[in-house]
Each structure stands twice: as C-alpha cells, then as structure tokens.
Amino acid sequence: MSDQACETCPAYRKADLKKLGINMTDFDFVVALAGNPNTGKSTVFNNLTGLRQHTGNWPGKTVSRAEGAFSFNDKKFKIVDLPGTYSLLSTSQDEEIARDFILFGRPDVTVVVVDATRLERNLNLVLQVLEITDKAVLCVNLIDEAERKKIKIDERSLSRELGIPVVLTAARQNRGMPELLNYIFEVSSGQFKCKPHRISNETRELKSAVEKLTSKISEQFPHLPNARWVALRLLDGDQRIIDSIRSGELNTLFKPEVNEDLLMESK
C-alpha cells in the first residue's frame, strides 16, 4: 500500500482540507453555493466546512444565507450557502438574496449544485448564473440517485458545452468532493479560465437591441464584468437593477480602486 500512486490523484489532496467551521477571518477567496431547492447544497456546505447546518429532504430548507469557512492548499475560503431557487429572474425574497449575492457579493467562484436526476430543468438556473458571472463550477450532485434510476451523465460534454468545470458528486457519501475542492481552488485562483456558455438563440431584432445596449453599458461603465447581463435585465425592466444604476451602486461596486479600499477595510 504505497502512497506514491495516490499523490497524483486529486483525492489525495483531500488531506489538505481543513474544515474551519465558522472561523472566517482573513479569507482569500469567497465561494457562493447556488442551486435549485433540495439538490443538497447544504450537504455540500456541511461537507466542506465541517459545520452541521441543518439539512433536510425538504425544498426550501435554507431561506437565508449561511456562511462558513474552510482552507485548502494553504488558501482560506469563505463559503456562502444561498437559498435554493429555480431562477434568478423573478422577485421573491429568497431569489433576490441569491441573485444579489452572486451579483453584488462578487464571489470568486460560484458553485452551482444541481440534481443529477433532474439535470435539464436544473440547467435553467445554471445558464442564468453563467450570464452573471464567469467563474463557476458545476457540481452535479445526487449522482447515486441518478445511477439508481439508470441515468448517465457525461460530464465531459457537459463541461465542454457550459465552458466550466463539471464534477459528479454524491455529497452524502463524500463522493467527488475532493475533485470539487480542486476545481473550486483552480477557478477561484484563476488557474482554470472559464469560457461560460452564453444564451444564444435570440431573434435578430433582440440580438441587435442587446448588443447596442451592451456596448453602451461597457462604454459608460468600463469596469462592469457582466455588461450583457445588465443589458438583458434592463431590457426586461428589472427595477432592482435600474435602481442600482441610478444610485450608482452597480458602478462603484466594480471600480477597481474602490474594490481595493473595500478589501483593505475588510482586513
């Protein structure tokens, strides 16, 4: 039983994982945990942090956000468990909490947890998340249940289509968690560059309207990383986004100098 062969395997590094619970001082990266209700986000959260946030077979268990921390490869990660939502478009309070955090909280990586047995429906949320942020990892959870139902997921083609790392997990049995950790590390540290899928098949008028507005936005607010998404939301008449432009919140948030200041303050 030599350890040699294991060293190349990502599972080996699980040993580096330190569960920090709620000790969240001086973290290097912020991880957001998003996903549909009842896909096991809280189980993934507990697995990474060693916390025992109450989990339940119950959609809507987490309605506010829970925070925890862990350290991996000498980096400290703060992880935020967001409420489970079906979309980021409508206006209920739990969806707003999730969206606001991904947009305004600017996590270094967003892990989208999906149910392997309901992948197609869950992908709607994944695509919406990818409109907002570039840095994401897809965690296809409950893979054991999918196997039980004889559903196979091809993570390579999924990863190719979405342009982000994909990992198959069964968080309850600790399956796939070491790989997930690795991807979280690689994406948040910039080692893995995501090329996220963008929603494509729009009508021609729509496309030109979106392009016009997007270029206007990037011209006026050069620091905004997701101008296209902001354009889509403005065209949809999203009051929260209109307000955040009017109040200047959106703009100041993404100015590099201000970010430094904020960072200093938080330290």
Partner: protein
C-alpha cells in the same frame, strides 16, 4: 457630472430599446434559456431505455398522496410517532426523577445545612432554581429524545413534503398560498423557523397570512406539554393497556385542531383584512432518500433536543426562583401566590382552567416549555400536600405519572381542566423568540401585535365555549 450623464444615457437607451423589442421579451428570453438547457441536456444525459419495472418513489407517492388514503395515512403515522413517544418515555422519566429529585435534591439540602446556608438562600437556589431545572429535565428530556429523532427521520426520508402536498389544496381553497402547507409543517418543529420559512412565499399578502397562522402549528416546546397532559388526564381515564393509544390520539386530535384553526383563520384573514386571489405555484416532490439513521440521531439530539432543553433550563432557572418567592413572601397570612390564585380562580373556572394555570402561564411567558413544571409546583403549594413536598414552594417528587395524576386530582383537577389546558396550550401567544422573529420578518408592530393577541383571544373564546358546553352536559 459625467457619471450622472452616463447613467441617464444607459437608462434612456434601455427605455427606447424596450419599446422596440416589444412585450414578449421576458417570455422569449425564458424560452431561449429553456431551449439552450434542453440542447445541452440532450448531448450530456443518457437515459437507459429499459424503464425499471418498479418505481419505488412513484408507488409510495401514489399511496401516501392519494385522495382517499393520504389523510388517514398521515394521521396513522403521526399517531404511531406519539404512541412510541408516550410509551417509551415513562420509564426514563421515573429514572431521571429518582436521581435528580429524590437523591440529589436532599443531598444538596443537607450539604447546604451543614455549611450553615441561610434558609432563604438555600430555598431560592435549591428548592427554587435547582428543582425547577431538575423537573424540566426529568419531564422533558425523555419525550424529546424519542420524538425528535422520529420526526427527523420522517423529514429526512422525504415524508413532510407529501404532507404539504396533501394540504396545499386546502390552503389554496381558503385563499392562502399553497406553500403555506410547507411553512406550517416547518412550524411543527419551531414556530420561529416556520415564520422565517414564510419567505418562500412571494406575495406579501399570503406571506403575512402564513406568518400570523404559523403559531397554530404545535411546536417543539409544546409537544412535550401536550403529550404530558394527554397522558395524565386523557390516558388515565382509559383502561391501562389502551392508555398510550388514547393519549396519542388526543395529541393527534389537538395537532389536527391546530391545522383546522390555521385554515379557518387564513380563510377569515383572506376574506377581510388581507383580501386577494391565491397565487399558483408548483410543488416539487423530492425523491425519497434512505434516512441516514446515525446522522439523523446525532443532529436531532444536538440541534433539537439539546437546543430546546437548554432553552428550557435557561428559563426554568429564574422561573424556579420566582415560584419560590411568590410561594414564600407573605402578605398577612397568605402568600402572594395564594392571593393571586384565589383572585384568578373564578376567571379560570369560567374557561375551564383555574387560578394556578393562569399564574403558571404568567410566570412561564418567556418559554412555553416550563408551563407544566410550574403548574405542578404551584398545585402542590396550594393544595398543601405535605407528604409529597418538602415544604412551601418545593416541587414535589414525581415518581410516576400516576403519582402526578393523583396530586393533580387532589388539587381539584378534572378531565375538563386537562382538555382546556391542552386547548389553551395550542391557542395562546407565541413564545418570546417567535414574537421577536415575527417583528423582524414583518417589520410591523401592528402585525406583530395581531399575531400575538389573536391566538390568546381565540384560546379564551374556545376554552370558554368548551367549558360552558361541558358544564351543561356533564
């Protein structure tokens, strides 16, 4: 200035374009997300062509959510859970009482005497605070240790969303949101959690209804109370071998009555002050998952049992002191407690209760959990059964449910008192934590007051009606 102009430029352009692209933008955007999602899924998900002959989830769902069997199965499962709890907690309760009350308490007293502690100090600390805490542990720990894990197993298995599925149509029919069935089920654990969970309801009107009526779900703090009263008053009237089943049935009855009241009040609110249409939603039934027994035992003991017990102990400590004080401070010949009880007795009798219970509710306002220990302690004090207590204000030794029941019967308690107490325990103000949570969630003093006083008024009205009818017929 230029920033100001930038903002306006963007917003003006957005307004113009919004006119150009027309109204169906939102739908077409949603559609393109759907079609992209299905394209991606098509290339990366492979289904096995052979459908398994037996679909476990579907088969169970067809039974537990069926029109005819859904509700009876729900009642049956609840009854079995309570029956196991009631039958199982009697022996450990006696065991704990014999240690904490029969052995440790006299030892503490004789130790205090040996170091010449003043009588009032050892009274406050040992006969008051210590005994109240010991009592809470002996009475509450065993039922909680059994009930919470059983309930968590049901939750982990995925049964609770099925309860919500059975109920949601009823809630929609009374003009509330179907998801209120979910928040109600959450309230069975803790009302404060149920109130927070109401965030899943989008419409403010329906969310408010869900918050106000959540208190009608019996919570962790009140289950042990209900179980205990049912065992003492309802169960003891039945033949011994049926006592457990009869008591469990009584508790299920009260829980159902709570659901009934939450429907009636929702109906009333949505017809009057909170008028509006019910919104539609789709409830996704999660797959059944084999519960992880050890993990569930661990979390239900740590998160629930210890949490609830600790809260009870924290409140029992000062309450024990207050009880000892009201029982020992005299005005003339009578103590404060006796003065209040004599004064409140007529009012109490009117609603099927008595002065002791009213005083206990006042002392136990911070936490529902300690109502029963307080009632028992005060009863002993008033009845003055000297052989079971060590003097005024000392909680007696609870050796068994039978002994408790004998003492309460000696104190003038009847079955009506028991029934009324169960009803009043269902219908009274939420605990202080829940009231605070309601205020935080609604941000409105008005709705917090409504949520606080509406159940008390209902409780008094219901108890009054029951008592009057009872007196006519029995």
């Amino acid at each position: 200035m230029s920033e100001e102009k930038n903002k306006n430029d963007v917003l003006t352009l957005a307004d113009e374009l919004r006119w150009e692209i027309g109204e169906d933008f939102h739908d077409s955007l949603a559609e393109s997300i759907y079609s992209d999602a299905s394209k991606i899924a098509a290339v990366s998900v492979i289904y096995d062509d052979k459908k398994p002959k037996f679909d476990f989830d579907r088969t169970i769902d067809r039974i537990v959510t069926s029109r005819w069997l859904g509700f009876p199965i729900m009642f049956l499962i609840l009854s079995v859970v309570f029956w196991i709890t009631i039958e199982g907690s009697n022996i450990p309760s006696q065991f704990l009482a014999s240690i904490l009350v029969d052995t440790v308490h006299p030892a503490l007293k004789s130790f205090a005497d040996s170091i010449n502690t003043p009588w009032w100090l050892s009274g406050i600390l040992i006969d008051g605070a210590y005994l109240a805490v010991a009592w809470v542990i002996a009475v509450m720990l065993p039922p909680m240790m059994i009930f919470f894990p059983l309930f968590s197993l049901l939750e982990d298995f995925g049964y609770l969303p099925r309860v919500a599925f059975n109920m949601d149509n009823l809630y929609r029919r009374v003009g509330a949101h179907g998801k209120q069935a979910l928040t109600m089920s959450m309230g069975f654990g803790c009302n404060a959690a149920g109130v927070v969970a109401s965030r899943i309801i989008d419409s403010p009107r329906e969310r408010l209804i869900a918050i106000i009526t959540n208190n009608f779900s019996l919570c962790n703090g009140r289950w042990p109370t209900q179980i205990l009263i049912a065992t003492i008053f309802i169960g003891s009237t039945a033949p011994a071998h049926l006592a457990g089943i009869v008591s469990a049935g009584a508790v299920v009855g009260i829980a159902l009555l709570g659901i009934f009241f939450s429907l009636v009040v929702s109906w009333f609110l949505s017809r009057t002050v909170l008028k509006g249409e019910a919104s539609t939603f789709s409830l996704e039934l999660p797959p059944y998952r084999p519960p992880r027994i050890l993990r569930t035992l661990y979390t239900s003991i740590i998160d629930r049992t210890i949490f609830v017990l600790w809260r009870a102990v924290v409140f029992a400590f000062p309450a024990g002191i207050v009880i000892w004080l009201v029982a020992n401070i005299h005005f003339g010949d009578t103590t404060i407690a006796e003065l209040f009880i004599n004064w409140a007795n007529p009012l109490g009798f009117l609603i099927g209760l008595n002065g002791v219970i009213l005083l206990a509710y006042i002392i136990a306002i911070p936490a529902n959990e300690i109502v029963i220990p307080t009632i028992l302690m005060l009863t002993v004090l008033v009845v003055g059964i000297s052989e079971v207590g060590g003097g005024n204000g000392v909680m007696f030794e609870l050796d068994s449910i039978e002994a408790t029941s004998a003492i309460l019967h000696a104190g003038g308690w009847t079955m009506l008192t028991g029934v009324s107490l169960m009803l009043f325990s269902l219908l009274h103000n939420p605990c202080s934590t829940t009231i605070y949570t309601i205020y935080k969630e609604t941000g409105s003093i008005k709705w917090t007051l409504v949520s606080t006083f509406l159940p008390i008024i209902m409780g008094i009205a219901v108890c009054f009606t029951v008592a009057q009818i009872w007196k006519i017929f029995i």
